[in-house]
Symmetry: C2
Subunit: 348 residues, 2 copies
């Protein structure tokens, strides 16, 4: 069959089998309304003719496309890629397809994506780490489709969310650093408008306070969630003493940037500076030293999101806000502070 030829339809099968197309439809759906013999014969003929049902036509009548839309800021982010994998996995297991839309963090493109997804009549939409998450809520009225937000809590009808407990993650980092003996820790955050960034900071602060410590405003820097932000953050910290002995980073990319800057400045990690990341991306193991980090269950995040979407479509009333607990992965980028560290002018 050449690419331009039209595929065999249910009617073609019906003609070959000498029955009506209704009977074929029922036979292929394994309906009890069709006699066992007829059913078997039709199924055989359909197979022989290479029949494949048209999800298009089916979708038109059933109003279900068995397809969900997935909007991501960028698939090139290893954290997001892992989440997507979880979504893909459970989608395939449930015979669902996912239409991927890479908005490239551009709100205009993101809107174009949503418009397309609406035309394609996807059954639901999953959005990961969008900064314009709240933008969807007004759009929802026109959308008429359930939306699951990943790591972007947002209350609202028809808007659900699955997220990592950022506060708890921050707390783990703070508690760990404090227990190592650090008394002067800094924070290099994510994009200024990211809710998750302030949550992680607050969590960290809460833990430090239990030890009588805090992160002063001068040591809480904004970033961008990428290596550049980490690099700039540490550069800035090194310009104004006294230096921190540890830096908690918004995510692993930021930590990797911080690591570069520290090395470039002649500091040893973790000897002179301890670093804690967030996410536990695959590459955290491969930098030198391997990154101690707060691990999110990335795969699970995707799976739960997809499961939630399926449950909603199945008509089950589900809790609208699932939160997953992160945990600390101890590797080699942290150590107790060197005696006398954190003083106005380090050796250099």
């Amino acid at each position: 069959m050449s690419p331009s030829a039209k595929p065999v339809s249910i009617k073609d099968v019906a003609r070959a089998a000498g029955v009506s197309h209704s009977t074929v439809s029922r036979a292929l759906a394994d309906s009890p309304l069709v006699a066992a013999g007829t059913k078997q014969r039709i199924q055989l003929i359909a197979r022989e003719m290479g029949y494949t049902p048209s999800a298009i036509a089916r979708g038109l009548v059933t109003r279900r496309t068995a397809t969900i839309g997935l909007v991501v800021t960028t698939i090139a982010d290893p954290f997001i890629a892992e989440v997507v994998r979880g979504i893909e996995e459970t989608a395939l297991d449930s015979d669902y397809s996912v239409i991927l839309c890479d908005s490239d963090a551009d709100p205009e493109r993101e809107l174009a994506c949503v418009r397309t997804l609406r035309e394609k009549r996807v059954d639901a939409i999953i959005v990961t780490s969008s900064r314009v998450g709240s933008l969807y809520v007004p759009l929802l009225e026109q959308l008429g489709v359930p939306i699951v937000l990943i790591n972007n809590q947002h209350a609202g009808r028809y808007v659900y969310s699955v997220r990592n407990d950022d506060r708890q993650g921050g707390w783990l980092a703070g508690e760990y650093l404090a227990s190592l003996g650090h008394r002067r820790v800094a924070y290099v955050g994510g994009p200024p408008d990211a809710h998750s960034s302030v949550e992680r900071l607050e969590g960290c602060r809460a833990a430090l306070r239990e030890h009588g410590l805090d992160i002063p405003g001068a040591l809480a820097l904004p970033g961008d969630g990428r290596t550049g932000g980490g690099q700039a953050g540490v550069d800035l910290l090194l310009q104004r003493p006294p230096h921190p002995t540890a830096v908690f980073c918004y995510n692993d990319m930021t930590a990797i940037g911080a690591l570069r800057a520290a090395k470039a400045a002649g500091l040893r990690v973790p000897g002179d500076l301890s670093l804690v990341g967030y996410d536990d991306i695959a590459f955290a193991v491969f930098v030198d030293p391997p990154l101690t980090t707060i691990a999110q269950a990335k795969r699970a995040l995707g799976q739960r999101a997809m499961d939630l979407a399926l449950a909603i479509l199945d008509g089950q009333e589900e809790t609208g806000d699932i939160v997953l607990t992160p945990h600390l992965v101890e590797r080699a980028s942290c150590a107790p502070p060197a005696p006398g560290a954190g003083m106005p002018t380090p050796s250099r």
Copy 2:
């Protein structure tokens, strides 16, 4: 509108405008057959009613879904993620959607993907780095859809390909190492059945031969395209002297694994061992030392694949095999061999 409400159709608009649905259809398509005034009025009403055309119904009659299927081994691979980004980008610009299928390198899942894509009536399929590429050719007869293979050359009707010139890439690596003065270089490859791996090896050999050198069989090791393969490869090389002074790796992941093994064995890179990767993934910059590597135009690979698919669907006869040229990116993982290196027993 609640999620379960049905969207407004072209007929609803027609009723509101007091015309037939045909006229609405034409007006929205900006057909010259409709009077300018009527057209404007209808478009306004449609907008006010929040009408969105149903790609489902349209697809049924036009036999075009404006959707392509994308089959990947795993989206978690940063190289593939970058390619996907290129595809996504040009797809969105052409108002096409892409259905992503992560086969997890499992042939069975891969087949399930293709079956689903067929049901969804995608206009074309793009496959990246599948090892079972040749498996698609027999399937094509039932498929009736053009297929574009990325980095998986395979002649055949209705099967097209966009690929990186692996031989040339290998040649670049070999030439570079030879010009640095290395006389004993090893190769740690990809999966044994990967055609690209033998191409890169052969290209490298060709360059070395121009300098009177070669890669003996004992120094050409198989791998798996992941860090584990690189690690195992270098471990093996270090077990049997004389050691190579440089290792050309199938890809960056392999090189990163090789780097770990070398460090673990107390070797310094590039002092004691030079390393060349392949792909130039984003993380190649962040390992220590930053990786010298053969860069593939990943984004372009995706773009060209999508462009090719669009051209084919547009009825243009296109050349079926596009090959892109890689280039060397010099960073810090290579240096001239140390004097006396490559001898039976290194210092340790």
